[in-house]
């Protein structure tokens, strides 16, 4: 008994909660599979959508940069336009329940309704596991995955890193460009750009 106690004390010392080093998925790499539950309680895996283009959008309704793209209807417009072309748009919220920005599934359903969000699913990642596996740093932070499961774009939504709604006009939208080019069989001209916005409110 004594021995196991000492051993577990040592194991506890050695197995201290390791700080999470952020992984990252860059353009050209395979998009790692994940499974998350959407706000209606339905599970979705990335691998369910093999053979289709998938957009991953990191989301936090309380972030002014996310609000910029929804208030301007920019994000809903992209979701609708590419949804009609068969692109699966997944919106992911990695905010920890410990943050004041956390919105539970019920509240998130209201937001989806009020904002008329058109993505295929809004999924919560309260432990931040998927966000940290992809290296999602900001809201919004975008990934475009091709039908073979390869990342063709990772980074910011456009080239105007501001919170002003007016700046959506005239910005170069990297996600739309990557989808258009990729669907047309062309190489993606800008496969990576700096993400901008609020930090993802990870559990730590």
């Amino acid at each position: 008994m004594m021995k196991t106690f000492a051993a577990s004390a040592i194991a506890a010392a050695v197995g201290l909660a390791a700080p999470v080093a952020l992984a990252a998925v860059a353009a050209g790499q395979a998009a790692p599979d994940f499974t998350l539950t959407d706000i209606q309680g339905k599970k979705h895996s990335l691998s369910d959508f093999k053979g289709k283009y998938v957009v991953l959008e990191w989301f936090n309704s309380e972030c002014p940069f996310v609000q910029k793209h929804y208030e301007s209807s920019n994000m809903q417009g992209l979701q609708k336009k590419y949804g009609e072309k068969g692109v699966v748009w997944l919106t992911i919220n990695s905010t920890t329940p410990e943050s004041s920005n956390y919105r539970d599934p019920a509240r998130s359903q209201q937001i989806v309704k009020e904002w008329k969000i058109n993505s295929a699913a809004l999924m919560l990642d309260p432990e931040g596991k998927v966000g940290q596996a992809y290296g999602a740093r900001t809201t919004p932070h975008m990934w475009v995955v091709d039908p073979q499961g390869k990342v063709v774009y990772a980074g910011g939504i456009d080239d105007k890193p501001t919170f002003r709604v007016a700046d959506v006009q005239g910005a170069r939208n990297y996600v739309a460009a990557a989808l258009d080019e990729s669907i047309a069989g062309k190489a993606v001209a800008v496969p990576a750009a700096a993400p901008y916005g609020c930090s993802v409110k990870y559990k730590y």
Binding site: A6, A13, V14, V20, P64, S99, A194, C198
Partner: protein, 714 residues
């Protein structure tokens, strides 16, 4: 669609003199350096942001998240604004992300060109719109519209005295072109190396470097940058961004040095990668590798005498004495296994520390005890060991091995285990020489670092190895007898005292409720083990029942003692009286005021620190000397994890506490005092650091100041 953009308030300042614009958690002001505009002479205008404590704004490259502050000008015909300037930023860690920005306050300067045909007497309207993002845990966008109206005058007016200091500060914080130093950059796989070397002798000695890349997608922002001294110059090691953007051909950005590159604290860097691998450069961190090994070995040896290890190891010696007349070969195996246990546990703790640091964690030696769970676990462990020594119960193997039982079932496992335990209980103590050696280890490649830790472990195990290998020594030990039982029971008391101390540490970390829960758990454990001891000779089934019940009780005690949630608030209440809480700013402002500064880097769980504090730092004669010399006393409390303190320790080439640093306004580098203090050591150091105490030094070191004083006196 209703989306509430938090506090998106635009405040129109009144034309004439721009009033400060108050926004949630920040305040902005647009300040012309002079009230008048002179034809043909540029005018500097500052955007001053003042932030609430804990909130920050961003640099031009915000790092992992954020938005740079921006300003847009509307100026009359013929006037033009240059780019907004960025003072050197600081690193802002919001794990697992890292941003670059400013806390407290920041002043961004912009130079406005004034046409030479501006008519004296005319009014010049200046409009500017500033956007910034202020974040703590959450982010709030802020904006301000400023309108100023300045009069054209043929003679430049005086600078506004309320703002001269802020302008001077902004200028001194601006990065300058690198001069007098050579910078080179190398890429080696995922590692980026930036080296700087002075071109001539007499350059300042650097304690640390921090690189801020000009654009995103170059370095992994959150990964710790490691600083090393080379035989010629300095090196900063960084990691390539896992989300690279664009081509990576070199390093461009701002390099900040502690204390600075001469005139500049921060310099602009723009160097292409040199081809090929970086030429080998011998690292030297004040001490060389052999010296570090030697110091670690000596530190390990002395560790045996430190208060947290001594009681446990005294018991170990008793065990050896009891076996003294057994087989010499068996004894030798025992010694080797014990040493192996010590080495293995130091490797485990050090290996984990290196891995976590490589992952970007701000941790140092003793990090194990920054977790209240480990502290609670150790308290329970010491208490159980104490009860065993007191004879409350006798069980199994582990305790008996520690206590020197001869009939241990598996002596090999016992020897190994007691080695592991010895290293674990040693962690709260830092012995003399250890600090410098471990500080050296942490800036070395992993293999060299592990060798230093191995030397430490071998030093600690040496006395037992010698004892087990030299039979002549064993024969000198007194024969086993009744005295051993008496000594054994007596040795329980230092263990109980250790428990008292650990409960106190937990109280600092988890509050009085956490400490009370731990004490309650100790009572439950005592009851359980008493039952085990009491019915030790009962029938087989009764004995088993009691043991199972005891196990359940002890499991319950563990759950009870398990500290809930996060460590309590920083125990700044403990920093009382003459001692102020430490911060970089507190050190520099005291030095700027011409006062010497004494910093006590300490932690509640560090026994050596507590002994020094009680016996030396608060001794009447030492305190009196502190007061006489006007020394500012700061305490950096590392009981809980604190990245700023870890970074400050790293700049002193240390990774653990205690560290005692004495800064004097006349000297660039602090004097580091030994880990184990005596009153005379502190008094001597104070004498040397404080010029006022020794007029002889004051006159020879500061002739300029004294002649200036004479000139000013009437």
């Amino acid at each position: 669609m209703r989306i509430t953009i938090a506090a998106f308030v635009l405040v129109l300042a009144l034309p004439a003199w721009a009033a400060p614009v108050q926004q949630p958690h920040s305040q902005a002001e647009l300040v012309p350096e002079r009230a008048a505009v002179t034809p043909g002479r540029p005018l500097t205008v500052g955007l001053h942001l003042r932030l609430e404590e804990g909130w920050h704004v961003y640099w031009k490259n915000p790092g992992d998240a954020g938005m740079p502050t921006s300003i847009a000008w509307t100026l009359p015909q013929g006037f033009s604004a240059g780019p907004m300037e960025w003072p050197a930023p600081r690193r802002i860690d919001v794990p697992p992300l890292t941003s670059y920005g400013y806390e407290g306050e920041v002043m961004h300067l912009t130079e406005i060109q004034v046409p030479s045909d501006a008519k004296p007497g005319a009014q010049v309207p200046i409009h500017a719109k500033a956007d910034w993002l202020v974040c703590k845990e959450i982010c709030i966008p802020a904006s301000a519209d400023f309108s100023l109206s300045l009069t054209v005058s043929s003679t430049p007016g005086d600078p506004d005295p309320r703002w001269t200091e802020a302008f001077a500060k902004a200028r001194s914080a601006a990065p300058l072109p690198l001069a007098g130093w050579q910078a080179t950059a190398y890429r080696d796989g995922d590692t980026l190396l930036l080296r700087v070397a002075p071109e001539a002798a007499g350059a300042p000695h650097l304690h640390g470097l921090a690189f801020f890349p000009e654009r995103e997608g170059v370095i992994a922002n959150a990964v710790r940058q490691t600083f090393a001294r080379l035989d010629k110059g300095y090196e900063l090691r960084m990691t390539v961004s896992p989300q690279p953007i664009g081509e990576l051909n070199g390093l461009a950005g701002v390099l900040v040095a502690d204390p600075g590159f001469g005139a500049a604290r921060a310099v602009e860097i723009d160097v292409p990668f040199s081809p090929g691998p970086a030429p080998a450069a011998a690292a030297q961190a004040g001490l060389g590798f052999p010296t570090a090994l030697l110091l670690a070995f000596a530190g390990g040896l002395i560790l045996n005498l430190m208060p947290c290890v001594f009681p446990v190891l005294a018991i170990k010696v008793l065990g050896v004495a009891q076996q003294a007349h057994g087989h010499p070969a068996k004894l030798r195996t025992h010694g080797v296994l014990f040493a192996l246990g010590v080495v293995l546990s130091f490797w485990a703790i050090a290996g984990l520390l290196l891995a976590l640091r490589a992952g970007g964690a701000d941790l140092g030696w003793g990090y194990q005890l920054q977790s209240s769970m480990i502290v609670a676990g150790l308290a329970l462990l010491f208490f159980v060991l104490g009860l065993n020594l007191s004879g409350v119960f006798q069980i199994g193997t582990g305790v008996q091995a520690l206590a020197g039982g001869i009939r241990a079932k598996n002596e090999h496992a016992d020897a190994l285990l007691s080695g592991l335990l010895a290293a674990l209980v040693a962690s709260p103590c830092t012995a003399p020489f250890m600090g410098a050696a471990l500080g050296f280890a942490l800036v070395q490649p992993a293999l060299s670092a592990m060798l230093v830790f191995t030397a430490l472990a071998l030093g600690m195990a040496l006395p037992y190895l010698v004892l087990c290998f030299v039979p002549a020594l064993i024969r000198r030990l007194p024969r086993p007898g009744r005295w051993m039982e008496t000594l054994r029971q007596a040795l329980a008391f230092p263990l109980y005292a250790t428990v008292v101390w650990l409960v106190w540490v937990l109280g600092q970390q988890a509050g009085i409720d956490g400490a009370a829960k731990l004490l309650a758990a100790l009572v439950v454990v005592a009851a359980a083990l008493w039952a085990v001891g009491h019915w030790a000779h009962a029938g087989r089934s009764a004995r088993m029942t009691v043991r199972v019940a005891a196990l359940i009780l002890m499991g319950g005690a563990l759950v009870l003692a398990w500290p809930q949630g996060q460590p309590g608030p920083r125990s700044e209440a403990r920093v009382g009286g003459a001692w102020q809480p430490w911060s970089e700013g507190a050190v520099s402002s005291a030095l700027a005021a011409g006062k010497p500064v004494f910093v006590d880097f300490t932690a509640a769980w560090c026994v050596t620190c507590q002994v020094n504090k009680r016996l030396v730092l608060t001794a009447a004669d030492v305190e009196q000397r502190f007061v006489e010399l006007g020394v500012t006393r700061l305490r950096a409390d590392w009981t809980n994890r604190d990245g700023a303190i870890t970074a400050a320790l790293a700049r002193l080439n240390r990774i653990g506490v205690p560290v005692y640093a004495l800064y004097s306004p006349a000297q660039r580098e602090p004097l580091l005092l030994p880990e184990v203090l005596t009153r005379s050591v502190v008094l001597d150091a104070l004498q040397r650091a404080a010029p006022r105490a020794a007029p002889r030094y004051a006159i020879s070191s500061e002739p300029a100041r004294s002649s200036l004083a004479k000139k000013e006196s009437p």
